[in-house]
């Protein structure tokens, strides 16, 4: 499915004015002010130098690959499990009723509280991190899938019934395409959650990825590196969300767009 490209707007620079002013003020305060020799803060120019240092020596790339690898693996599991669970719960009122209490009891467990358990099972490394990401990121997928199935246009199900479609055809040709736009929104939410959880777990315990790199920089008194990584993480999150938004518009441009664009933020 190809979509016509949307109207291209000229880039608006105005929203950048506030951050630029803040950075300038920060630079001036650090260079001119009494905090010049701070061990907790660094001037923007030092952060920039630090950033290029860890880009050049490869540590940033390695850490980024580790974090994104874990996030992606966890996200894939979250989407697979969340989608299947959401489908089952959406299709069967009985199973939904039977599992409701259990799910509502497990779901609020904070992801970070799972670290000790995951560590006992998997030790350090990817599997521990991915299992926690999968646990946390599957809920939005499950819940939005279940709601989307519940909200399916009854007329479309009647079309399937009148044509005597097989159950698998009905799922593949009616249900999944019908819920796809909303599942994609769930995927975007889950991707954000996955990144947050990956870094949280790395900061808390797992000695790999961007989170661990930040902790190392902090413990070795390199505030400029801590800040450089922090800003990099922000940029990564921003970039991922916008890439997914772009993909969403390309994939689901067939409709009136209402169901896509309304909850697209």
């Amino acid at each position: 499915m190809t979509a016509p490209a949307g109207p291209t707007r000229p880039f608006d620079w105005r929203p950048l004015a506030v951050p630029l002013a803040l950075i300038t003020a920060w630079e001036l305060a650090m260079v001119l002010g009494p905090a010049t020799t701070s061990e907790t803060l660094a001037a923007p120019h030092a952060v920039l130098v630090g950033f290029f240092t860890i880009v050049a020596d490869g540590t940033l790339l390695t850490a980024t690959a580790q974090t994104l690898g874990a996030a992606l693996g966890g996200l894939a599991a979250a989407v697979a499990i969340g989608l299947v669970l959401g489908l089952v719960l959406g299709l069967s009122a009985l199973i939904d009723m039977l599992l409701e209490v259990s799910i509502e009891a497990i779901r609020p467990v904070p992801s970070i509280a799972l670290v000790p358990l995951a560590m006992m099972i998997y030790g350090f490394g990817y599997r521990m991190e991915m299992s926690i990401i999968a646990f946390t990121a599957m809920w939005p997928v499950m819940i939005l899938t279940r709601t989307a199935i519940r909200d399916l246009e009854p007329r479309l199900l009647e079309v399937a019934k009148a044509l005597r479609m097989s159950f698998s055809d009905k799922v593949m040709k009616i249900m999944l395409p019908a819920i796809a736009p909303r599942v994609f929104v769930a995927l975007r939410l889950a991707a954000g959650v996955a990144l947050v959880v990956a870094i949280t777990v790395e900061i808390a315990s797992n000695p790999q990825g961007l989170g661990a790199a930040m902790i190392l920089a902090q413990q070795t008194f390199h505030p400029e590196l801590t800040l450089a990584i922090l800003i990099w993480i922000g940029l990564l999150g921003y970039g991922i969300n916008h890439a997914l938004l772009y993909l969403q518009r390309r994939l689901f441009a067939f409709g009136t767009g209402s169901e896509v664009s309304h909850d697209a933020r």
Binding site: M1, E153, R155, L156, E158, V159, K161, A162, L163, R164, M165, D169, K173, I174, P177, A178, A180, F252, F254, G255, T256
Partner: protein, 258 residues
């Protein structure tokens, strides 16, 4: 027009239907001949749509039965096609016009190599030849309803059930589609069960018009339409017979509303 029991392709035998405690259809008896065009009129809420859904096999009657081609109807059949009132909801928004028609052929197991020709022929037949790759959201209401009709025709139905198919369209589009439907009916020989609230439309299209009475929905009167075919939007509608039938139907529905 119909001889009971002999030429009837579809028979409603004492059909009644309740939703919970509410009796929606009560003891409906009707024979529909092969190739006949039967319209159903009546005040809003009298059970027109429900009668169509029963004929479609989408709901089972609470009492009585439908006999189709000599055997009791037990559920939806592919040779009975439905055109829903709300075309915007009945089409798959993520599929193009071509792909929406393809849905019917895929489901019926039509050979993959045969599909493109059949789909293009249907698109052409229904006047959408140049719009194969448009999504429903890119089409007007009239085009969307044409597409839904094309999808129904892809089933090569013996019976076409239509629920106020032109109700949401403007007058000109409606008249064009009425004539196209009459042409289709001659070409395909399909039986047409046509629900409408437009009394002139009912007379213009039909061999017979069934007038339903409400609460509970039941057959009040059956009007035979002996207007010559082919029909014409001007001369048919101006003929005394047409005006007389319109008058009678109007009085019937007016009386039924009270």
């Amino acid at each position: 027009m119909t001889q009971i029991g002999q030429t009837a392709q579809m028979r409603l035998e004492g059909v009644s239907l309740s939703y919970g405690a509410k009796l929606v259809l009560s003891d409906i008896n009707l024979d529909i001949a092969r190739g006949e065009i039967v319209s159903v009129v009546g005040p809003s809420g009298c059970g027109k749509t429900t009668s169509l859904r029963v004929l479609a096999g989408l709901v089972s009657p609470s009492g009585g039965r439908i006999v189709y081609e000599g055997t009791p109807l037990s559920g939806p059949r592919r040779d009975i096609a439905i055109v829903f009132q709300d075309y915007g909801k009945a089409l798959l928004p993520w599929r193009t016009a071509y792909q929406n028609i393809s849905l019917a052929l895929e489901t019926m197991g039509t050979d993959k190599s045969e599909r493109p020709d059949r789909i293009h022929a249907l698109l052409k037949l229904i006047g959408l030849g140049n719009h194969a790759d448009k999504f429903p959201s890119q089409m007007s209401g009239g085009m969307q309803q044409r597409l839904q009709i094309a999808r129904a025709l892809a089933q090569e139905p013996s019976v076409l059930l239509m629920d106020e198919p032109f109700g949401a369209l403007d007058a000109m589009t409606r008249q064009t589609l009425q004539d196209e439907l009459l042409t289709l009916s001659t070409k395909t020989g399909a039986t047409i069960y046509f629900v409408t609230h437009d009394l002139e439309e009912a007379v213009y299209l039909s061999d017979r018009v069934v007038g339903l009475l409400p609460n509970p929905g039941r057959v009040g009167r059956i009007f035979d339409v002996n207007l010559p075919r082919p029909r014409d939007q001007l001369t048919t509608r101006e003929s005394p017979e047409f005006l007389h039938l319109r008058h009678e139907l109007y009085q019937f529905v007016k009386g039924a509303e009270q």
